[in-house]
């Protein structure tokens, strides 16, 4: 574990009422840059992510969920029963001294707990409250229930994902949560800038499905500019830009820029493609089936990484389909100090993915391992001026 450098958000106090992926990821992005993040979890079971696989050692255990561990390093954990009056009182004590609160409950929940934005800002007018939800805090669909699949469906992204003759398919893994957390970090920081300049807090309302819709940079103007509706593609004339078999896995070849066709044919080892009929864009379309077949036959003769590196060295765009194992073993990521080894008393020593960008003067550090459930109860409550007896009583009452 490296020592904490002076992160840009040093001194910023954040309460993370998030669960699963979106809220915790947003709060972790703040924590990674030096913010002091207190994660507030339900007593006994904690964040539901603690029950989400995969688990270290394949052993389901609340302190071994890799999903939880990944999303919650750099934070402290406090358990709090927000449904109890005593629990709510402790939360409001924390809110008095906090700068940011992040939550991703369904929109009606915060109000039902008596801690909606109005109630929180009455206690602390400079507080920024970031609410991340599937459809946003307003509108006719506000209270609809959703998860990754439903967000993808409603966002429009699924309608163009998959093949024409088959059903729409969402992107792999739980992307919607990560997209929601990442999208949440932006207006949160914008509101923190306003807070610094004016001392005013505000409510930040982030809609995960709208974040996914934001990626439809062709689908939307296809309709607004031409009245055309994009659909899923037919699997023909797909030699370029799609996953194709190599000897030991999959690669993605790109349609070379004009003037590069000869080099491309050499790199993939297919001199027969140098036939002038394939040289132009029009020719490639007219002879698509033959091109697909010849290129496919050439690609499958190569080892995927050798081809990827050779093509890129020759300045030809080329992708290689990597698995999680490839990512774990990737030399580029190692050189970029992407992985960080962290000891954990229950999960053991594990490697964690880290920063997406490097900054010349400040930035990412892992200064805390992921917290055990309620690990920092005493430290945080003592910081609020609660006595030992007080804390003991709260524990007996199940508040913490």
């Amino acid at each position: 574990m490296e020592t904490a450098s002076e992160g840009p958000l040093e001194g910023l106090k954040v309460l993370d009422l998030g669960h699963q992926i979106a809220g915790p990821y947003c709060a972790r992005l703040l924590a990674d840059q030096g913010a002091d993040v207190v994660k507030i979890e339900r007593p006994l079971t904690g964040d539901v992510a603690r029950a989400m696989g995969p688990f270290a050692g394949d052993h389901p255990h609340p302190e071994k969920s890799l999903t939880f561990l990944y999303l919650n390093y750099n934070k402290r954990s406090l358990t709090l029963d927000l449904k109890s009056a005593a629990g709510r009182e402790i939360l409001l004590d924390l809110v008095r001294d906090a700068d940011v609160l992040v939550e991703n409950f369904e929109p009606r929940v915060m109000a039902s707990l008596g801690i909606d934005f109005k109630a929180l800002s009455a206690v602390n007018p400079k507080l920024v409250v970031t609410s991340i939800s599937n459809f946003g805090q307003t509108g006719p669909r506000r209270d609809w229930r959703a998860n990754d699949l439903i967000d993808y469906a409603v966002s429009g992204v699924m309608s163009i994902s998959g093949y024409a003759e088959r059903e729409p398919v969402k992107h792999g893994y739980f992307q919607a949560g990560y997209v929601g957390g990442l999208a949440g970090s932006i207006p949160t920081m914008a509101a923190v800038l306003v807070q610094g300049a004016t001392g005013r807090g505000q409510h930040v309302d982030v809609a995960i499905s709208e974040a996914l819709s934001s990626t439809l940079l062709l689908t939307v103007p296809y309709y607004t500019y031409m009245g055309e509706t994009q659909t899923r593609r037919a699997p023909v004339g797909e030699a370029f830009g799609n996953c194709a078999r190599a000897r030991d896995g999959w690669v993605v070849a790109h349609s070379p820029r004009s003037g590069e066709w000869g080099d491309f044919c050499d790199v993939v080892g297919a001199p027969e493609l140098k036939d002038p009929k394939f040289a132009t864009a029009r020719g490639k379309i007219a002879n698509a089936a033959e091109l697909d077949e010849l290129l496919g036959a050439a690609l499958v003769r190569h080892d995927r990484f050798a081809l990827f590196e050779e093509a890129n060295r020759k300045k030809i765009l080329f992708g290689v389909v990597q698995t999680p194992e490839d990512l774990a073993r990737c030399e580029q990521l190692a050189e970029r100090n992407y992985y960080h080894e962290i000891d954990h008393p229950v999960a053991g020593r594990l490697r964690y993915p880290g920063q997406t960008f490097e900054a010349s003067e400040s930035g990412f550090a892992i200064s805390r391992r992921p917290p055990l459930l309620g690990e920092h109860n005493e430290e945080i409550l003592a910081g609020l001026g609660r006595s030992r007896e007080d804390i003991l009583r709260l524990r007996e009452q199940g508040v913490v």
Partner: protein, 449 residues
Amino acid sequence: MNQPAKTTDLPLAGVRVIDASHVFAVPYATGLLADLGAEVIKIQAHTRMDVMAGHGPFPENIPGERAWDRVGSLNTVNRGKIGLSLDLTKPEAIEIFRRLVRVSDVLAESFTPRVMKKLGLDYAALREIRPELIMLSNTGYGHSGPWREYGSVATSLEATTGMCWLSGYENGPPSKIGQSYTDFLACWNAVYALLLSLYRRRRTGRGQWIDLSMYQTGAATLGPLIMDYFANGKVASRMGNRHPDMAPHNVYRCAGEDRWIAIAVDSDEAWRALGVAMAQPAWAAEARFAAAAGRIENSAFVDQQLSAWSAGQNAEEFAARLQKAGVMAGVVENGRDLLHDEQLRHRNFLELVRHPPESGIGERRYIGRPWKLSGAELAITRPAPQLGEHNREILTGLLGYSEAEVDALEKSQVIGNEITNAGKVQPLHLEGMRRNHRIGQPDNGYREV
């Protein structure tokens, strides 16, 4: 209409940003900064067209005389900016660029590591003339490491980040996904990194350089799966629309052309509610489906039966009925549906923007932002600039060039407002695209939305 109104209330009022980038990731990031109140100057090129320009779409599929100004995707990401066109191969253009850096807060660029250095516009050089500068460089793999010189586009990155491996149909091959997905992860990471750096600068007075790697932004969304390999030697694979702990969890065909509903049953209670919504068919009452384990084990059968029921249903009505019963459901919306969606309309997510009359684009709706602030009315503040539209305004007003100097710069084509060698840009071949299932049936009512 857009209400730019009081830009002083906006979080980034008074912040000047230079956008020297192309395609989607960084232009979109700086477009979002403009929505937050920054003054964003788009550095354009009048020596060649943006690589995306030929892909359109164009208004009414007419590229027109100035096709480069009429590209829907680029007009989405470049909204809210003012435009300065520069031929950066000319020393006078480099001088203008440097003068601009002197009076700016942020520079965001997406050239390969070699290019900015060759132009003398790398961070080391620019920090000399503007010590407080915040500069962001976005590349495929970052400025260090063995892959630093590798070129990339979103499709190659979707492969290297692991997204292709995990996407596609269950038991099918790995698949390309969506539209330039990695671009958007990089976009949002870029905005966050820049806002952080502005916050830091307000506190310390210091700028910095951000080296953003699109590759890392993608891998970050698969964190637990990479850890699963480190910890357990396991390699996760494709699940299509399925979920490890839920069934049904898929999309189901409904009545009409390419209409689908997504349904996710996350509890036995939700399963019973789904049964009620389907008028209690005998198969759904079978004991083996009462608990999640049994439904997951028999998910192919359950999906088949559910599809048979949904095929006669109106997708919108079925989804609303299921939601009312507490079952997670939603329509698989297409591009047309989004423009007619009541929720998005209520939130003004797709904003109406008026282009200047001479552009011939008129009023169009554009993707806004997936966030709202209670303290400021965010909006797209102006349409994307036409090529070189603000050359004179920026050079004389901001940088102190005289009118005569600007005339001379125009004459020597250091600046310009048209691309002379663009050639004739062709409209999209819509009928061919329809044959290849890239687009469905046209809707002539699209100008009314």
